[in-house]
Each structure stands twice: as structure tokens, then as C-alpha cells.
Amino acid sequence: MSWVESILAWGIIYLYTICSILLLTAFIFQKDRLFRWVRLLLVPAFAAHAAEFIARWVRTGYFPANGEFENALSGGLFAILLTLGVLYRRRELAGIAVVTVPVTLLFLGYGIMKNPAALPHAASLKSSWLVIHVLFAQLAFGAYLVASGMGAVYLLKDNKVRQGAASAFFDKLPRLPVLEELMFKFVIYGFIADAIMIAAGSIWAKDLWGSYWAWDPVEVWSLASWLVYGISIHLKVQLGWKGRQLAWIYLFAIIGIIIAYWGVDFFVKNSQHIFGVRPPS
């Protein structure tokens, strides 16, 4: 890791740490003025994040998706980009960052502690389909994570409404139907990106391993996570589920995506999907 990348990486981590503390404080003590600071800090944090992403891409010459650090870098980039996109349109929705920023921080922290160095670009990763596959995977992750954040905000606000307790903090958040609709929009966005990710991945698998689908654990988790979101869309569109029911689903459905992207290698040692370079045996 070059010193520029090092400074940027640690700068991002510290800024996201401060944002996470502010967000948690804002929610726990219901201090909405702290959201203003989050909005202010998130812009330079994202700029540094984007600069780190570009610096890594320029230095290595390949799309940063090789190893835990680069996956966290690109996945987090889209999550924060979408978060900022929401905040730009609706300032009162700063609360969704209470999920997206800490999750991004944890992944970046894990990546930088594991191995932030640029790994050799294995022949198996030299494919245009990899860029498409990973790009859509990270877009889907970002969108689902934002939906998960909205689910958390929805549930917190709904709890207050149910208690009948007046709260200036929660009153400033968008109305529940608006939150629900936004949450669903991000799920739709993620669902489409996820579908393209799976299709692009299977086309890449055909070139790399000779078959479109091999029931590899990562493939199975990806399909299962996609089906969970597919079921949630059916539940809303066909059976009229709404509000809290959907918010709970979206809050927890992100776990499947996290396992598919980062968790399988922990438990299964012979998955064909290695997010990085397999250490020499």
C-alpha cells in the first residue's frame, strides 16, 4: 500500500468512525442537529473513499475487487454513494446512515486489518465479466444496505408512533408511508442489480470453470438472498404486506448478502469462489 493510499484509507476509517459515533449519539439521545455534522463529514469521507478507490485502480490496473480490503472498498463506496444520493434528495433521511456507515466502517476495518496490500491479479480474475459481475454485486449490496437502514429508521419511528409519544426528533423524519416507499425502491434497485450480478457471474463461470452453475456455496447463498428479496417483493405486490413486516424483512435480509459476499469463505474451504488469491498450499 502506498503512503497516499495508507493516509486515505485511515482517513476514511477515522471519518466513518466519527460519523458512526455521531449517528449513534443522534439516535440514542435524539439530537437531530448531529445529523448536520454527519452530512458535513460524509462528503469529505466519501471523496477520500472515491480517491482511494481510484488510486488503487490506477496503481494496480484492475477493478478493485481482489481480496477483502478491495471488496470492502468497492462495496462500501456504492453504499455510501447511495446514502449520499438519498441525503441530497431528502436531508431528513440522514438517519439511514446509521446502518450504512457503521457497516461500511466494519468491513473496511476488517479488510485493512486482514491485508490491505494489492494482491497479484490472478489469471482467473482477468475478465470483463468480473467487472460487470462485481460492479452489480456492489451496487446491489449498497442498495440493500440502504434499504436495511431505512428499515431500521422505519421501525424506530413506528415504535414512537405506536407509543403515541411526541418526539421532535422522529417528527422530522419522513412520514412512514414515504419511508416505506423509499425502502421498497432501494430493494427494487438492489433486486435488479442482483439479478444482473447472478447472470453475469454465471456467464463468467462458463468461461472460467466450464459451466454456468455449479451449486457452489457462494452461488447458493447469492441465489438464496435474491430469492428472499424476490419473496419480499411478492409479499408486498401480491399479498399486500407493508409497513413493519417489510421493514423487519429488509433489516435482516442484508445478512444473507453479507454472508454471500464475505462470509462463505470462513466456513467452507473448498468453494470455487475465492475473494482474492488462494494462498499457496
Partner: protein
């Protein structure tokens, strides 16, 4: 058969028909669809927790697990849950999924086409005269406008929506307007769900016609349609014969960064049917001709080992394909001789503190660590370069030439084009249905005290809040264009 019996039989058949119809109607309910998907989801996920044959590193490990957990293994293996993705229960639910999909599609096709193509105009414009009574309707007031100009006003409103690419239908002499945005959106539902059927058909075609096998070839070796040489992985169930195929490996150029292979170019001369051509196959870039793809997936080295008597007469020799790259140990035996030759390979030899190692993985200074055994007895052990002899038992073992071998995955299958078409169709359907939801605006122009009044209301799929905001903006624009005033409390 008398009349009473006939009647009873008729009523029985009618009752049976009704039961079947009821079951069929129940089967295509959304709850059943969701239930089937949920069961499939559970089955897929259970494959991550129930030990799967394919996830054991070797068949010995699988057998060992079976012997350590006899009862559990008996249950799992008995129900074929150790191959959950092709287990009878999974196949059953996949079949139910596709049957349900077909039933739902059959039910929805006429309705969807009617909606997209606005076939039933009467039904589409029914109830337009009550728009003004609907909750949430927006009013635009045109004071001082002659009451008989309502038709002109409606014409202008119609033009307003047409200009913004809405599909427009009118009724009641042009005074009621139905404007629809994204009218073809429901077709996305058909495209997306039909794409599953296309994927199923092409997937079955791929599975049933698939031949796959590995083929190990050393540089310079000629392969020509000798099917016996394949280590077969998948045998095709239909179209068993493979087209004529010849392959010669002309050169192999791997690149490494540390221990990681970063590139592999395999230059091939290929004969497919009657055509001969040169091609380069890489990891991720198989050579394709017709339904055949040739993919290099592993390489190794094939040194030429020669065993001579002390006097120089050749006893045995040949190229031996060895899996010794990246520090692995491999061995070979000369035919009909008792010696086992175990080898470690240092492609770019260096000795650090008396320990042999390799600077890189590229073959720059090749050295073998040779150990010759006869049974358990070690006859020779030492480091040998090209041209150097290892002497034992009155014999001399030398290696004089190094070639690469390449293990190719050769696949022949049909149905990949429709499968790709299925992916494209599915993605198109999803985008059409979910990103371009159908929106409907209903407008009624009528008389009011001292002028005309326009009422508008509507609905949008999936995102009603966003639609209400859009409707309010459209109403403000329309009022502005037509010179009206939004009714009280109805500002954008």
C-alpha cells in the same frame, strides 16, 4: 345405463371437475407461489448445512464422515440429501415451481395483454364521470370560461398529456380523459416470468447434450478425436457423438507474480470438422467452435526422463506429466521397472542457507530434487540439473528436456444461446416492470358556477407516494398551461 345412473355419473364427473378446477385455482394463488419459492429457498440453504458429497475435498473424506456418523449418514444418504440440489424432493419442488409458473402465466396473459394494449376501452374508461367525487381528486378551476368550452378545454388537456408521451383515451364526447404512462409495463411481468421457462428449456438442453471431460496434452502431442483419452465428467444423454476434433499444443506461456499465476497463453492448432486454424486459449478465454469449447484449466511440466545402463544403452524413458509446480511433490514409475522416482521442482533454483528454493515460478534455472526408491529403500537422493545424471543400481537417470503439459476442459453442449437470451429477457422484464411502473391519470372536464372545472385523479403502481407528488406537479403544470387555478388547498 338408466337415466338415474346417468345422472349420478354426470353429477360425479361435474363434482370431480369442480374439485379439479378448485384445486387448480388454489394452486395458482400467490400464497402457493410464495410457499413453493420459500420451500426451494429452504432446500437450497439446507445444502449449506447438510454435508454435501461435492463439498468434501475427496471421496475418502466423504467415506470417513459416513463411518463417523453412521445414523445421520444413513438418513441423509437414504433421502439423497447429500446431493440436495438434484435430490427427488428438490426436483419435485422445482417441478411444482414451473407448473405454478405456467398456471399463473396462463391466467395472467389475457389480463396483461388487455392492460398493455388497452383492448377493453369501455372497462378502461368506466366510472370516469365520478372522478370529481373521488377522495384525493385535484380540481382546476377556470373562472369566466364559457361552460360550452369544456370540450375545447378537455382537448387541450388531452394534448398536454400526449405531448408528455402519455397514452390517452377519451370518452363521453371527449370530456373524460384517461392518460396512461408506461402502459407496456405489465408486459415486463410476462417477459420476466417467461424467461424462467426459456432458461428451464435451454438448461435442460444444456444438461442433456453436455459432454465434458478433461484432456491432458503435452506440448507437441497430437490429439485427434480419440475419445478414450478424455477423463469424462459428463456424458451426454442425447447426441452422444462428438464432432471431429484435433488439437496440438504448440506453445505454453505462463506468467507469474510471486506464486500467483497471472496469465496463461496456450497456442493451439485446432482441427474442427474440416477446418484447421490457429488459436490462443487462456484462463477465462476458451477457444470456441460451434458447440465446443476448449478451456485450459491446469498446467504442469513434462520432463523427458531417460534411464540408461552404465554403458549408455537406453533402458526406458519418456515424457512424464508431473504435478510439481508451486512446490508440490509428485512421482512416476518407469513401466515394468521397480523404481519410483519422487520429484520436487525448483523452476528458478536458488539455495538460501543450504535450503533449496525457487526465486520465481518461471522456468529460468530448473533443478529437480530427485529421490529414487525401490520399495521403501532409497537408492538415490539429490539435486539434478538438465543433463546431470542420478546414478543408482548401475543405472543413470537424466532429464534433458522440459515441456509443459496442459489439462484442458473440453465441453460440448447445445442450448447456450437460448439460455443467454433467457437472461436478457429476464433482466429486460424486470427493468420494464419494476422501473417503469404503470401510472394512470383520469380527468373529467365539466361545468361549474361561472365557468368550467377540471377534476383529475389517478393511481400509480408500487410507489403511490411518489405518484401523488407527480400528480400534484402535473396538475400545477396543467393549470399553468390551460390558464386555470388549482382548487383550494391543492397546490403542488
Amino acid at each position: 345405463m338408466n337415466n338415474a345412473t346417468k345422472k349420478t355419473a354426470h353429477s360425479m364427473f361435474r363434482s370431480l371437475g369442480q374439485d379439479i378446477q378448485r384445486s387448480y385455482n388454489y394452486f395458482r394463488r400467490p400464497r402457493v407461489t410464495i410457499g413453493i419459492i420459500a420451500v426451494l429457498l429452504a432446500l437450497f440453504v439446507s445444502g449449506l448445512f447438510i454435508p454435501q458429497k461435492s463439498l468434501f475435498l475427496s471421496s475418502q473424506q466423504f467415506e470417513q464422515w459416513n463411518s463417523e456418523h453412521p445414523v445421520l449418514a444413513a438418513v441423509i444418504n437414504g433421502l439423497k440429501l447429500n446431493e440436495i440440489y438434484v435430490a427427488p424432493i428438490t426436483i419435485l419442488f422445482l417441478a411444482l415451481f414451473f407448473l405454478n409458473l405456467i398456471a399463473v402465466l396462463i391466467q395472467r396473459i389475457p389480463h396483461t395483454l388487455r392492460r398493455a394494449y388497452l383492448i377493453d376501452r369501455q372497462a378502461a374508461t368506466a366510472g370516469m364521470e365520478r372522478v370529481n367525487d373521488e377522495p384525493g381528486a385535484i380540481a382546476i378551476v377556470f373562472k369566466g370560461m364559457p361552460p360550452d368550452s369544456s370540450t375545447t378545454l378537455a382537448g387541450k388537456a388531452e394534448a398536454f398529456f400526449r405531448k408528455r408521451s402519455w397514452s390517452v383515451m377519451t370518452s363521453d364526447g371527449g370530456r373524460s380523459i384517461l392518460a396512461i404512462r408506461n402502459r407496456y409495463s405489465p408486459l415486463g411481468f410476462l417477459l420476466f416470468h417467461a424467461s424462467f421457462l426459456l432458461c428451464l428449456v435451454s438448461g435442460l438442453l444444456v444438461v442433456y447434450t453436455r459432454f465434458s471431460g478433461t484432456l491432458l496434452l503435452t506440448q507437441g502431442e497430437i490429439f485427434y478425436s480419440d475419445i478414450e483419452r478424455f477423463k469424462v465428467i459428463d456424458n451426454p444423454k442425447i447426441f452422444p457423438s462428438l464432432p471431429d476434433l484435433g488439437i496440438i499444443v504448440e506453445s505454453v506461456s505462463p506468467s507469474y507474480e510471486g506464486a500467483t499465476g497471472t496469465d496463461l497463453d496456450v497456442a493451439l492448432k485446432i482441427r474442427y470438422l474440416k477446418e484447421t486454424f490457429d488459436a490462443v486459449a487462456k484462463i477465462n478465454e476458451p477457444v470456441r467452435r460451434g458447440p465446443i469449447s476448449i478451456l485450459p484449466h491446469a498446467i504442469g511440466i513434462s520432463p523427458l526422463f531417460v534411464l540408461k545402463k552404465g554403458g549408455g544403452a537406453v533402458v526406458s524413458g519418456g515424457y512424464f506429466a508431473l504435478n510439481v509446480l508451486k512446490g508440490k511433490e509428485d512421482s512416476f514409475q518407469f513401466p515394468d521397472l521397480p523404481y519410483t522416482v519422487a520429484l520436487r521442482f525448483y523452476p528458478d533454483f536458488i539455495e538460501e542457507g543450504g535450503v533449496p528454493s525457487s526465486r520465481t515460478q518461471e522456468i529460468r534455472n530448473p533443478v529437480f530434487h530427485v529421490r529414487v526408491q525401490d520399495g521403501g529403500k532409497v537408492l538415490y537422493e539429490g539435486l539434478r540439473r538438465p543433463g546431470e545424471n542420478a546414478r543408482f543400481d548401475g543405472l543413470e537417470l537424466s532429464f534433458s528436456e522440459l515441456r509443459y503439459w496442459v489439462d484442458f476442459l473440453v465441453v460440448r453442449e447445445y442450448g447456450t444461446t437460448p439460455l443467454a437470451a433467457g437472461f436478457v429477457l429476464g433482466a429486460t422484464g424486470l427493468v420494464l416492470r419494476l422501473l417503469f411502473p404503470r401510472k394512470t391519470v383520469r380527468i373529467r372536464v365539466g361545468k361549474s358556477d361561472g365557468g368550467c372545472i377540471l377534476h383529475m385523479n389517478g393511481s400509480g403502481e408500487y410507489y403511490p407516494q411518489a405518484f401523488r407528488e407527480e400528480l400534484a406537479r402535473s396538475a400545477a403544470d396543467l393549470a399553468n398551461v390551460l390558464g386555470g387555478v388549482l382548487g383550494e388547498g391543492q397546490t403542488a
